[in-house]
């Protein structure tokens, strides 16, 4: 088994997809010879040539819009937004075209394309380099939104996203790019639209995705000492949400906390709470709570430790789940 990190797994996924399907093309800002600011596209131009992996002018709306046209012609473009906040210029193309093309043409025009967005904080970046923007996309019908929480999923989900007949927003937890795992690639994990139980437990379910899956696993370890047997779910797919897996767990444990980096207010966690509450109301011992970023713009480096969910804060929240009722 080789030790590889998430950035390498993503790179390998692109490489394998490009090898398997000549319609897969990669482009964006600095993804060519440079290999991307996070090295995810490293070596692709050298291996596949300038026609398959290339730099574009610096304009995100242009990048996404161009990808739309290429997908209309039968290609499978995979584009990179350099950082989360730099996908915002492409918001109109994403919401008004990428998400809607199949529907507006009554199924005639499919857009099999992937928009890769490194997201989240924890890397000491300056402003606009730490946003968690997933909720903007999950609220947009027509988009599939996925994010890997593990290195193995990074490979597998990206392959699946590229193979999907629908456009996929692929959120990459940038603080986990360098997380290493023992992994023999190629290897596929579960289907793209399925959540996965990463750790089983009886007392409470932590529901998370992307960068905070690992945080929840650490929390589960720590929780043992407090006497809580914690189950951890990695959603993997945010839209659609795998309600069955989530609800099966919560019905078992009766308690749940949703954990993500993003600001809590009107964030994706609210959907998880609302769905779980609706579907599992009679099984709930306590309200489903959320742990996420404060409702503030993503803070500067020196303050980000406070913004990001950490095991202590999650444990404190678990402690609020009406245990005294039992």
């Amino acid at each position: 088994m080789a030790q590889i990190n998430m950035a390498q797994a993503l790179n390998r996924a692109l490489r394998d997809a490009m090898t398997d399907d000549p319609n897969v093309v990669v482009f964006g800002e600095d993804v060519g010879p440079y290999g991307g600011v996070f090295t995810v596209t490293d070596g692709l131009t050298a291996q596949f040539g300038e026609d398959r992996c290339f730099d574009s002018p610096l304009a995100e709306s242009g990048i996404v819009g161009t990808a739309v046209g290429m997908a209309m012609y039968g290609m499978r473009p995979v584009v990179e937004m350099q950082f989360d906040a730099f996908a915002y210029p492409a918001f109109e193309q994403i919401t008004s075209h990428v998400a809607k093309m199949r529907n507006r043409t009554r199924g005639k025009v499919a857009l099999p394309m992937v928009i890769r967005i490194p997201y989240g904080g924890g890397i000491g970046g300056v402003e606009h380099h730490g946003d968690s923007s997933e909720a903007y996309y999950t609220h947009t019908p027509g988009l599939t939104v996925v994010t890997p929480g593990t290195t193995a999923d990074a490979y597998s989900l990206l392959r699946a996203a590229i193979e999907s007949p629908d456009p996929v927003i692929f959120m990459e937890p940038k603080s986990r790019y360098w997380t290493r795992a023992d992994l023999q690639l190629p290897a596929r994990t579960d289907p793209m639209n399925r959540a996965v139980v990463r750790r089983t437990g009886q007392d409470v379910t932590l529901i998370s995705y992307g960068s905070t899956v690992q945080t929840c696993m650490e929390t589960a370890d720590a929780a043992k000492e407090e006497g809580w047997d914690v189950e951890v779910i990695d959603l993997r797919s945010l839209a659609p949400l795998d309600e069955d897996t989530v609800c099966a767990s919560v019905r078992k444990t009766g308690r749940a906390v949703v954990v993500h980096e993003s600001s809590v207010f009107s964030g994706y966690g609210a959907e998880v709470v609302a769905t779980v509450t609706e579907k599992c109301f009679h099984w709930l011992e306590a309200p489903v709570l959320r742990v996420g970023g404060f409702d503030v713009p993503y803070p500067p480096k020196d303050l980000e430790e406070h913004q990001l969910p950490h095991p202590d804060r999650i444990l404190d929240t678990i402690a609020r789940l009406q245990w005294e009722d039992q």
Partner: protein, 356 residues
């Protein structure tokens, strides 16, 4: 001959709009052949009738809204007929006449404006993208399709329509620049009808002409009399040929005028004097061609009557859309949640029908 890269001033449009047929219908330059002139004339006559018919349909409640291109038919038809079979057309909401000229059935073209679905035709059948409403967003799409074709080694060119107002949007700029940098086979046809709803060109741009934008991207810009179908056809044909031959994109600005209101629900009296339109009515592209060819609209009256009768018949049919369709095309397969929602709506409708 100087290469255009070595002599950037060759990218600038000429001092005056290119004209081949003047207001009196006299040839003032090299005309396309007779066969082409006749199809331009025919297309414009049918296009005008289509415009009138569609506006009438709004009054009869058979169309929700119609943005007419009356007065702009030389642009709509001239640019579109310049396309070869393999080429693609990326229209805006105003370019239904272009779409019909390309061969899309009239009723299918109007689906969006009728309100039964968003887009009514199969884009692959006639190589026509859906009518595009968010301004200038079709620009990057056109570039992408053109670039994909070039990468595949397919010989084709892409024609994309934009309004004068749309050139102000960031996406127009990004499309121009991507096309130039990628050397993509695209022709940007800016249909300058001098109004963006109520906003006149002078409040939209201070450029000498919109074609002067081209040099800022390193491509040629042409300024054409947009009421002269022969000039539009010729200049767009050359630009498309250049693109197909691998020499890159261009901008062609057709100078015309929006004679009708923005849409049927607009009232021009709120922002412009009726006299503003007078000079443009006088330079009507159809009258010009009547004079040039010595035949008038009646030459195509029968064909037009037939086409309009067919269109009316289509539009008078009830266009029932199955509510299930709400859920069918969002993804390749409806998600579990969409299936649940579909079931809920079906149950609701069944209950309404008293079936529950």
């Amino acid at each position: 001959m100087k290469s255009i890269e070595a002599s950037p001033e060759l990218m600038l449009p000429g001092r005056k709009p290119i004209q081949l047929v003047d207001e009196n219908g006299s040839a003032v330059g090299d005309l396309p052949d007779e066969r082409v002139l006749r199809s331009l004339h025919r297309g414009m006559v049918l296009g005008r009738r289509f415009n009138r018919q569609a506006t009438a349909l709004t009054k009869q409640g058979r169309l929700a809204v119609y943005p007419s291109s009356v007065g702009q038919e030389a642009c709509e038809v001239g640019a579109t007929l310049a396309l070869e079979d393999n080429d693609w057309l990326f229209p805006t909401y105003r370019d239904t006449v272009a779409v019909v000229t390309r061969g899309v059935p009239a009723a299918e073209t109007l689906t969006l404006l009728r309100g039964n679905w968003h887009s009514g035709y199969d884009p692959y059948e006639h190589r026509v993208a859906p009518l595009c409403t968010p301004l200038s967003t079709n620009g990057p799409h056109a570039v992408g399709l053109a670039h994909a074709a070039r990468l595949r080694g397919d010989s084709l060119a892409v024609l994309v329509f934009m309004g004068d107002g749309a050139t102000s949007e960031g996406d127009a700029h990004e499309a121009f620049n991507f096309a130039a940098v990628f050397n993509a086979p695209v022709v940007f046809f800016i249909q300058n009808n001098q109004w963006a709803i109520s906003v006149p060109l002078a409040k939209q741009s201070k450029a000498p002409t919109l074609a002067h934008k081209a040099i800022g991207y390193g491509m040629p810009g042409h300024h054409v009399d947009g009421n002269d179908a022969a000039a539009v056809y010729t200049v767009v044909s050359e630009a498309l040929a250049r693109a197909r031959a691998g020499h890159g994109p261009s901008i062609v600005e057709g100078l015309t005028y929006r004679v009708d209101p923005h849409t049927n629900s607009d009232d021009t009296n709120r922002y412009r004097d009726p006299s503003d339109a007078e000079p443009w009515r006088a330079s009507d592209p159809i009258i010009r061609f009547n004079r040039l060819l010595g035949v008038d609209e009646s030459a195509y009256a029968e064909e037009a009557d037939r086409m309009m009768a067919e269109l009316r018949a289509e539009m008078n049919k009830d266009a029932h859309v199955d509510p299930d369709e709400l859920f069918e095309h969002v993804y390749a397969e409806p998600t579990p949640r969409l299936r649940t929602q579909r079931a809920a709506l079906r149950a609701e409708l069944a209950a309404d029908r008293g079936e529950a």
